[in-house]
């Protein structure tokens, strides 16, 4: 390959078969061209938010007008200079963007292979990438004249980010959260309440994210006129996957420019954890057209890949329709969403964003899985090696990068999306260590 081709011009949906082989030897001219030309904004998907056969709007007729209104608002504002200026203002002054791209010199030396760079989304305000999206969506909500925001949350990160941005914008906020997750993430519940949000426990089923989504949707349908549903991941009916992708794509846009600046070339791999898939699609979006860059999503293998022990949707699932969209999902033979498990409350979701399903089918992205134990190992290793405590979610991506790096050359480059910080998980891990369930690795 002699150039860094952008395979898909702006305004054209990608499609067809894409090569997946790694490696990227770039010419100086291509480098210069790539540096001079910022990546195009994300290509719009086809009709009603289809990504190949995935996505769509599998929703009751009476919420379609509400989604249509949201889609129209998004189309009107996503490239509007005033809107972008306001978004930029809050991303910069409120959240502290841009986030650094940090070379893990110690970890790289220890692994003896590819250079590992971290995209430090954990340094965002509130400690995770979630705020990129909540700021963007709440600015849309303001333009729609909504007075209230409602959201679901798994690990609590999206809920905290929503509560914070609602407080910032002076909007009323209700967060639905699985009762089980509320127990696992008590401090996040307290944070949300401190910032003025009402936190409503989802008591049905497994009492985790899936139930929280159902109850948030139901509450929204009851008062759609005044309420903005602030969806936290790249899932749900159109236009949500497109909106979340758009606001999270700042991750990859920055990372791409930063790695070009630091290394003069594109990375060999971009690695991110995948629950619903928002941080992953945010990292991938601006690299999709760079055919030489391997895109790797890492799913939670939990206790192992037996039914009910994991949430590795793309690795183990098959296409279906849930929560308003068509995508890979984990389900039983009758089509019921499967029981799922992960050590990480932010990853245990039986579905996945529709664009990831499309990228998998195209072969443009690969999806791997990492067990609880491997993720915990990475959690300890990064803390010790670099003084950075990663979220358990992000530890999945890191664990996979740690498997890849030793087999790659020293010139190779891996960018890992460190989507969140691990402070929220420290109490949980400390309990496991105290109970003798896990032993921190010695370095």
């Amino acid at each position: 390959m002699s150039t860094i081709p952008r395979m898909f011009p702006a305004g054209v949906t990608y499609g067809g078969t894409l090569p997946t082989d790694g490696g990227c030897a770039c010419t100086a001219a291509a480098r210069a061209a790539s540096l001079a030309t910022p990546p195009a904004p994300p290509a719009p998907p086809a009709r009603d938010g289809l990504f190949g056969p995935y996505g769509g709007q599998y929703v009751p007729e009476h919420i379609k007008p509400v989604l249509d209104e949201l889609a129209a608002t998004f189309e009107r504002y996503h490239s509007d200079p005033d809107f972008l200026a306001e978004l930029e203002y809050y991303l910069t002054r409120y959240s502290g963007r841009q986030t650094p791209l940090f070379l893990c010199a110690n970890l790289t030396a220890r692994l003896g292979g590819a250079k590992i760079y971290l995209k430090r989304e954990d340094l965002n305000h509130l400690g995770a990438h979630k705020v990129n999206n909540t700021i963007g969506q709440i600015l849309l909500a303001k333009r729609m004249g909504k007075k209230k925001v409602i959201a679901e949350t798994g690990a609590g990160q999206h809920g905290v980010a929503t509560a914070a941005t609602a407080a910032l914008m002076g909007m009323q906020c209700t967060i639905h959260m699985g009762a089980e997750d509320m127990e696992r993430q008590k401090l996040n519940v307290f944070r949300m309440r401190m910032m003025g949000a009402e936190v409503v426990p989802a008591m049905s089923g497994q009492r985790t994210l899936k139930e929280a989504v159902d109850e948030a949707l139901a509450a929204w349908l009851g008062d759609a006129e005044n309420t903005f549903y602030l969806l936290g991941s790249a899932v749900g009916p159109h236009p949500y996957p497109r909106i979340v992708r758009h606001f999270q794509s700042v991750i990859g846009r920055e990372a791409r420019a930063q790695v070009l600046e630091a290394e003069g070339r594109l990375p060999d791999c971009c690695v991110a954890c995948v629950g619903g898939g928002s941080n992953a699609i945010g990292l991938f979006a601006d690299f999709i057209a760079d055919e030489g860059v391997r895109l790797i999503g890492v799913e939670p293998a939990g206790r192992g890949l037996s039914y009910g022990d994991h949430a590795a949707t793309l690795c183990m699932g098959s296409p279906g329709v849930m929560h308003g969209f068509h995508s890979y999902m984990l389900k039983d033979e009758a089509g019921e969403p499967a029981a799922v498990y992960s050590i990480s409350a932010g990853l245990d979701y039986p579905g996945v964003g529709p664009e990831h399903s499309h990228l998998k089918d195209l072969g443009r992205a690969e999806y791997a899985s990492v067990t609880d134990a491997e993720a915990l190992d990475a959690f300890f290793v990064l803390s010790r090696a670099e003084g950075i405590i990663p979220a358990l979610e992000s530890s999945h991506a890191l664990a996979h990068a740690m498997k890849l790096a030793p087999a790659m050359g020293r010139d190779a480059i891996i960018v890992v999306n460190l989507s969140g910080r691990g402070d929220k998980d420290v109490a949980q891990v400390e309990e496991m260590v105290s109970a003798g369930l896990v032993t921190p690795p010695t370095l």
Partner: protein
Amino acid sequence: MSAAIHTDMNDMLPEAPVSRLEARVAAANAAGRPALVPFLTAGFPTLDRFWEEMDGLDRGGADVIEIGVPFSDPVADGPVVEAASLRALENGVTLRWILDGLKARKDRYNAELVLMGYYNPFLQYGLENLAADAAAAGVAGFIVPDLPLEEDAEMRALLAARGIDLIALVGPNTSEERMAEYAAVASGYVYVVSVLGITGVREGLPPEVPQTLARARKAFRLPLALGFGIKEPKQLEGFPDRPDAVVFGSALLRHIDAGNSAESFLAAWK
């Protein structure tokens, strides 16, 4: 009895498709009353009692029975239907169990049968198999709340080939233009959702129901069935344009859950 229309021509395309549902609602209207359309979740409250209540609804004068196919994520349903769904799932109800049960009881019911459920269980069953098995079980229609017009072409065509209607759902925020789009493909009857929200959580009917009915009346040549929030006949008093059919869901499930029979619920409407 409509068995004369739906004989065992399971694999034959009707030459001039006659909607049994449309005909049934028209017959009730000709008798000077709205068609009675109870909704009952399959396998609720227990597997055996479900079939007993089906018989009771049929004896009690139901014109159409909507059988709920339980799903754990019923996004358009309120707490009552959701709780019934979860209980049915715990009882082991599957789509196959429902269809097998109906096949074994073919021609037992005077009422026409409609399956109401969410798309994924139907999709996983296989839409072609579903159309064939539903036809063999005597099912006259489907309602799939999470399958709007843009997504329903395949299912609508496969059902239509078996003479089965895919019922259109419209609500208070459905525009006239949108209703016209549905009218171009709709058959059977039109399910007019009375409230913007979920089933079974409102007291009474909101004031905009007559306007919604009027818009639907203008857009569709089909009978209109009003549902969501209907408990008793007096709710419809004073409507300038009575709906052609009334659907009872949550109120009926509550009535059964309180230990009463489905048949007694219908008595107030006769």
